[in-house]
Amino acid sequence: MVKVDRATQNDTAGGSNKVGAQADANARIISFGGGKGGVGKTFLAANVAVALAQLGHRVLAADTDLEGANLHTCLGLPSPPVSLADFVAQRQEDLGKLALDTPVENLRVIAGTHANLGSPQPSHSRQVRLMRTLRRQPVDFVLLDLGAGSHTSVLDYFLMADDALVVVQPEPTSVENAYTFLRAAFYRRMRLAMLGHGVRKLITEAMDHRNERGIRTPIDLLREVEALDPAEGARFVATMRDFRPRIVVNGVRTAEDIKLGFAICSVCRKYFGIEADYLGYVNHDEAARRSVAARKPVVDFRANSDAAVYLQRIAHKLVQSTTADGSTRTGGVRR
């Protein structure tokens, strides 16, 4: 891979290193979000990490879900004595000392265990520092396993990543939470990108579904922003264009389930006015369930299973989009 020593000053959720933007420092950061718990974020993060390492890339997988950490378990490690919580609590500044070797060559993991459950989330400034430090690690990819829900700390990990994946299962609860998550991420991203107080206030109002102005969709909001301040309107549009989440459908059982990814991308276009990429899908596979029970990644444990093949495809596509020009990063939904 081409390694460039890039600047890191933009690691804030409102900076230019946001959903869909090209990497701006050494390691490329890929986040696995999706709102709902149990949709397979950790399973995907662990397996894509292994698949990337098997392709010869240096990978660091980090568990940011400090209240429900189990990335290390999916990678076959027992509960480790050090974790990301030590960085969050400022007990350890050197992330390299928190990274543990895994049974897979080229792959290290930072667990999320032993958090102070009284205050598990890092402050925003601590989170920004974490992202900058992660980006400077001597690896090609940093994979972040995100917690469930739409807490601002989860959203910021999502927004600061170069590839922001939304994992969704073909069921109403998952789809509903994925849209809630995307909506929350979208508004936060837009609010942070705006300069004027008036426009920021307008966005805060729009976040309330029952707002008095009758703003129902992000496109309605854009029209209001343009009317209030054309320069902010232009900034809003530019930020929208950069906001490119990547959809992964997990737990596919039928050919119809696969189409859900295309349909979600269309809804993103028609409702949010944004381009989402359909990155791939993973089938509902007994081999995957067995691999989790055995605490081993399925791409290693059952390498010829359908799930492993689909996960390897996702890893390949992530590599392709890293090496290719940003404009070629399509999930097949742009025609």
């Binding site: 789809v175 050919a255 119809e256 859900l260 349909a263 269309s266 809804v267 028609k270 359909y278 999930g331």
Partner: protein, 214 residues
């Protein structure tokens, strides 16, 4: 960024202005199912009045763009002049006489664009690979059963390589041929390798029988 009201028919169907009629048809089918009342993808985002407004736009866009004459006049109103003439419809039409899908089904979702590194090109076809290709091409087991009249149970056994539950070789060969053809694969590429696996499994079974077993 344009809202639905501001979008032209091409934007509504999410196709390029130079899209061929098969691509328009494919996009229309995809849109219809994405914005159907019971579609999972719109759940919690659009309410009933939104979806009926979107559906009306989709239908109108399709009506205008699926007819060469109305499309040409619409293109002129947009100030758009297509680069080249449309290829003949006969060359791309679905073969309705056998109800089998052609090699590349133009009406299926755009999986070919979506998955560049498909595993269909070469090598051995096992049950898992057949299933992956079928899913990718948007074909359900029941679709194949309906078209080929082979029972869905046998089709599943073929994918699961549950060889002991399948009938004699001559039947299985026919089933696999019909399966391959229906998902748009060349049976001459699929059948020899798949049946090779079947025979190896059958051979192992027979050998076990001759040896008497434990």
């Amino acid at each position: 960024v344009r809202s639905l009201d501001e979008q032209d028919h091409y934007e509504v169907l999410e196709v390029s202005r130079n899209a061929r009629s098969v691509e328009i048809e494919r996009a229309y089918q995809g849109m219809r199912s994405a914005y159907a009342e019971d579609s999972l993808a719109i759940y919690s985002v659009f309410d009933g009045s939104d979806t009926s407004a979107i559906s009306e736009r989709i239908e109108l866009a399709h009506r205008v763009l699926s007819d060469a004459e109305t499309r040409a006049s619409y293109d002129r109103s947009l100030g758009h002049y297509p680069e080249e003439a449309e290829p003949t419809v006969a060359a791309t039409a679905v073969n309705h006489s056998t109800r089998e899908l052609p090699e590349r089904d133009p009406a299926s979702p755009p999986f070919d664009d979506f998955e560049q590194n498909s595993d269909e090109e070469s090598g051995e076809f096992d049950g898992k690979r057949l299933r992956r290709v079928r899913m990718r091409r948007g074909v359900e087991i029941d679709d194949i059963a309906e078209i080929t009249k082979v029972s869905a149970t046998y089709l599943r056994y073929i994918e699961e390589e549950s060889f002991k539950d399948l009938p004699a070789e001559v039947y299985v060969r026919g089933f696999v041929t019909a399966y391959a053809r229906t998902v748009g694969l060349d049976p001459e590429r699929v059948v020899p390798t798949y049946m090779g696996r079947f025979r190896v499994a059958q051979g192992a079974k027979r050998k076990g029988f001759l040896l008497g077993g434990p």
